[in-house]
Symmetry: C2
Subunit: 155 residues, 2 copies
Amino acid sequence: MRRLQQVIKQRKPFESLEQEVFLEVLRTGHALVHDLVELLRPHGLTQPQYNVLRILRGAEPGGLPTGEVGARMVASREPDVTRLLVRMEEHGLVRRQRRTDNRRFVHVRITRRALRLLRVLDESVRRMHTRQLQHMTRPELERLAELLERAREGR
Amino acid sequence: MRRLQQVIKQRKPFESLEQEVFLEVLRTGHALVHDLVELLRPHGLTQPQYNVLRILRGAEPGGLPTGEVGARMVASREPDVTRLLVRMEEHGLVRRQRRTDNRRFVHVRITRRALRLLRVLDESVRRMHTRQLQHMTRPELERLAELLERAREGR
DNA sequence: TCAAGACACCTGTGATAACAACTGTCAGCG
DNA sequence: CGCTGACAGTTGTTATCACAGGTGTCTTGA
C-alpha cells in the first residue's frame, strides 16, 4: 500500500518548484522535531518547554521577563508563552515573580532542578542532532543552513 | 567571566552546525506556513483543512477512506484526522459515509462547495508560493529541495 | 495632577497535535 | 459456528498554537 502511494506520488509531481520546497521544509521540520520530542518525553518535557529552558539557562543569572522569553521562541505568541510558563511553574521547572519596581513585568527564572535536567539532556540532544544529519557532509549542511536562511529573507 | 560568555554566545549562537540546520528548518517552516495560514483565514480554512481538501480533490472522483487521508498528511496521526474530518463535515467541506461493503471504513469525499473554494484559492496560493521564494534562483531552489529531501534520508 | 494611551501580561475560544486506550467490524481457522 | 486477532476508526487526555479582547500598571502631556 505504501508502495502504491509512492508510485502515485511519482506520477503526480509537484505543481511548482516553490511548492515542492514549501512541502519539503514542512516535512523535514516535522521529522526532525519528532526525534527531539521522543527524546524529551521520558523526561516529562515537551519541545516548547525544552526550548524555554534553553532560553532561560542562557539568561542566567538573572532570568527574563515573559515577553522576552516569547520573543526568543521559534513559534508561540505572547498568550501562549504565559500559559506555557504557568504549566512549567506547576511542574517546578521555572519560578515566576512579578517585579516590584515595575509590576507590569513578570520575571522568570529557571530552577536548579531544571538546570540539572538540562545538563543530563545536553549530551543526548547533541548526539541526536549529529545522528539525524550525520549522513550529510559538512559543506552540504552549511549550504542547507545558508539556503534556509536565504529563503526567509525575501518575506 | 559572565560577560565573556555572553559575548561568545552572541558571536557563536549555535552550538553545532547540526543544531543550526535544525533551528533553521523549524524557523523557515514556521515562516512559510504562516503566510499560507493568513491567506486561508479569510476563507475560513486552516492549513490542515486546506491540506485535506487538496488531498481529497486529488482523489476525485471516488474519495478516500479516513486512514488514507491521514497517511498523506504532513503531520496528524489517525485520531486527529478523524476529528479534523468531523469538523470539516460540520462546515460542509467534506462528506463522510461508512462503507456498506466493509463497515470498518469511513469513506470521505470533498463537497462541491469545497471544490469551488479550492478553485478560488488555487491562483492566490500559487502566487503566494512564488512570492515567498521569488528572490531565490531556480538552481538555489532545486538545491534546497534536494538537500532537504536528503536531510530526511538518514533517519 | 490626572486622564488618555502605551505597555506587559492574562483570559477566552477554537483548532491542532501526540499518544493511549477503546469500540465496532471483518477474516481466518478449528 | 464461534473464537481470536487484525484492522479502521473513535474517545480521552494533555499540551500547543493563534487571535481577539480584557486587566492591571506605568508614562506622559495638557
